[in-house]
């Protein structure tokens, strides 16, 4: 049993704070009533109330005062409502603030469009100096939090709502630039590139049905990391399908396409529509057309696909 990203964040930060008195935790009324950090370190915990812009700016003041503030609020409020504060504090000032943003993508499901965020990569990746991460599973989240606390550098970390996938294994301290999931895969053809919880779930699902498809998982998606990733990807393959829960504009796929001019880069993403219906996370993703069937469709021109894909079977189609 693994923890959802936001729960893993709170737990890991509370552990780190035991050894680092510079670590502070700020919430904007969305940290829950039983925040473990607040229980153990009440003097270093600030629930500022519903004040996201002020929270980021306050964190800048705290960082300039010698501390390492971690702030958290839902992705739409962090990345969009407080966007200018992020630009100035994390970007221009380079303040050592870590923003942890749950509810990214449409993980808010029935909560609706105000609580969705399909635009955060576009915003945060455009701010130089910010490490942007989309950890998959508890272990990746914990490792990224440790990295942020250790480095004291600006980080934006997106996660979902309650999904708790099992991280892909890796060796070393930090998640690698590219985490290759290619056991049994061929060396030619199309490589799946996964970003975030949904993107990685979909790629793993396709890999289970067709293990000869190689898969490269990316945890860090800021420009410097993508430049390194592009070099590594280009060394092995020349055709990629990037899967991510984000709009096409400002997507990781669009960045990789520019970084890989000699390769073919396709994108499976959440599109440009506004989901107007309720439902679970999965149901909203289906409304947007971001699902396993979309990935099989993207693969169709390139791969020798199974006669009937798992997604087709699920839909009762041949």
């Amino acid at each position: 049993m693994t923890l959802p990203g936001r729960t893993a964040y709170r737990d890991e930060l509370t552990e780190i704070a035991a050894d680092d008195p510079r670590v502070l935790c700020l919430e904007a009324d969305l940290g829950g009533r039983n925040h473990p950090f607040a229980a153990r370190y009440p003097d270093r915990f600030f629930n500022v109330g519903i004040a996201e812009g002020a929270m980021i700016d306050m964190a800048a003041g705290l960082a300039e005062g010698g501390y390492r503030p971690f702030v958290s609020t839902f992705a739409p409020f962090a990345a969009l409502r407080a966007a200018e504060s992020l630009k100035l504090a994390l970007g221009y000032l380079g303040a050592g603030i870590t923003v942890v943003a749950p509810y990214a993508g449409v993980s808010g499901g029935w909560f609706g469009t105000t609580h969705h965020c399909l635009e955060d990569f576009a915003v945060l990746r455009a701010i130089p100096g910010v490490t942007v991460a989309a950890p998959y599973g508890e272990e990746e989240m914990r490792a990224v939090i440790r990295r942020a606390a250790r480095s004291g550098e600006p980080h934006y970390i997106r996660t979902g709502r309650n999904a708790a996938p099992v991280s892909l294994p890796w060796e070393g301290t930090d998640p690698p630039v590219v985490n290759w999931d290619d056991a049994g895969a061929g060396r030619d053809g199309t490589c799946l590139v996964s970003v975030g919880e949904v993107g990685t779930d979909l790629c793993l699902a396709v890999r289970r049905a067709q293990p000869d498809l190689p898969h490269a998982h990316l945890c860090f998606v800021d420009q410097p990391h993508l430049e390194q990733a592009a070099a590594e990807l280009a060394g092995r393959f020349d055709r990629f399908i990037v899967v991510e829960e984000h709009r096409p504009a400002g997507s990781v796929a669009s960045a990789l396409a520019l970084l890989l001019p000699g390769s073919e880069v396709r994108s499976v993403n959440a599109g440009d529509r506004w989901p107007v219906h309720g439902g679970s996370h999965e149901e909203v993703l289906n409304e947007l057309g971001l699902n396993e069937a979309a990935l099989w469709k993207a693969l169709a021109p390139y791969a020798e696909l199974p006669e009937s894909t798992p997604a087709q079977k699920k839909e009762g189609r041949p």
């Binding site: 008195p21 510079r22 502070l24 003097d43 270093r44 600030f46 500022v48 109330g49 004040a51 812009g53 002020a54 929270m55 700016d57 306050m58 964190a59 800048a60 003041g61 705290l62 960082a63 300039e64 005062g65 010698g66 501390y67 503030p69 200018e84 504060s85 100035l88 221009y92 000032l93």
Partner: protein
């Protein structure tokens, strides 16, 4: 004419303690009011020089805020634990001049203001020696100063976070969001100063978006309020002197000022908001400024 630049060094911040540590002794302050007035006059002359650069500058607001900045910077010049954040960043010319006159800045800003190869931009940023925070997009200085104030409380030191805002700037929601948080956090070492000169970019605050009962507004948010003459450096110095580490309410200082203060041809005129002049006019104005 002589520019008064006293020898004052500004100690860098050293984080020496964390929650639970004993409070450090308050910094010694108390520069004579006459010295502060001399600094303010020298700085006003520098601002006029910056209005005579090819870019011009925000003259009226730089002159209105000058005495506030001179008094506040006098504390931070000798107390590296306190921080002045010019939230009304468009008065950058005034900030640079006040910092130079106080001895915080080594380089004469008037010679380089707005120049392509220099850091003295029209709104200040951290690449300028002695400036910590980027301001100019209005409202941000208040929460920066709040964060700074909370960091001093955590460190167990008596430093102040001093944010200097314009009255037009109070139209930004972020200011009131910050007051709400500051009161809830009992940040008694936060001081929000309003340079109430009555003007903003497009005209008068009273015409565009009036702010009646301003003192009551701050009180309603849970702040202490003082109303002062924003050109009385002696009173202003006293405002910034105390150790407020035992206070549990932030302080709002409503400082009544005159836009273009000290320069009779522009005093009180909304058009003084942004001014570009030639060298001859600058020379004449520097003779009459007071």
């Amino acid at each position: 004419m002589t520019t008064v630049v006293p020898e004052v060094t500004r100690p860098g911040l050293v984080l020496t303690s964390f929650p639970g540590a004993a409070p450090a002794a308050p910094a010694a302050v108390g520069t004579a009011a006459s010295v502060l007035r001399e600094r303010a006059l020298a700085a006003r002359r520098m601002v006029i020089d910056m209005a005579a650069t090819p870019t011009g500058c925000h003259l009226g607001g730089s002159l209105s805020v000058m005495d506030i900045l001179i008094a506040a910077l006098d504390r931070t010049a000798t107390d590296g634990d306190s921080e002045v954040v010019l939230s009304k960043g468009h008065a950058a010319a005034g900030l640079y001049a006040a910092m130079y006159a106080t001895g915080i800045l080594d380089e004469d800003p008037a010679a380089h203001y707005g120049a392509a190869t220099h850091h003295f931009t029209g709104h200040p940023g951290p690449s300028v020696e002695g400036v910590r925070f980027p301001t100019g997009s209005l409202g941000h200085g208040a929460p920066y100063a709040l964060g700074w104030a909370l960091s001093r409380r955590l460190a167990g030191t008596p430093g102040l976070g001093i944010a200097v805002l314009g009255d037009g700037e109070l139209q930004e929601g972020l200011v009131w969001e910050t007051c709400q948080v500051a009161a809830a956090q009992r940040a008694g070492n936060l001081v929000i100063v309003v340079d109430r000169n009555g003007g903003q970019n497009d005209g008068l605050v009273a015409d565009i978006s009036p702010e009646p009962e301003l003192a009551e507004r701050f009180r309603a948010f849970g702040l202490e309020v003082r109303q002062v003459d924003g050109h009385d450096v002696e009173t202003l110095r006293e405002v910034f002197e105390p150790d407020r580490s035992d206070r549990d309410r932030p302080l709002a200082v409503i400082a009544d000022t005159v836009k273009g203060k000290g320069l009779r041809p522009v005093e009180g005129k909304a058009a003084s908001h942004y001014v570009t002049i030639d060298a001859a006019r600058a020379a004449a104005w520097k003779e009459i400024v007071r």
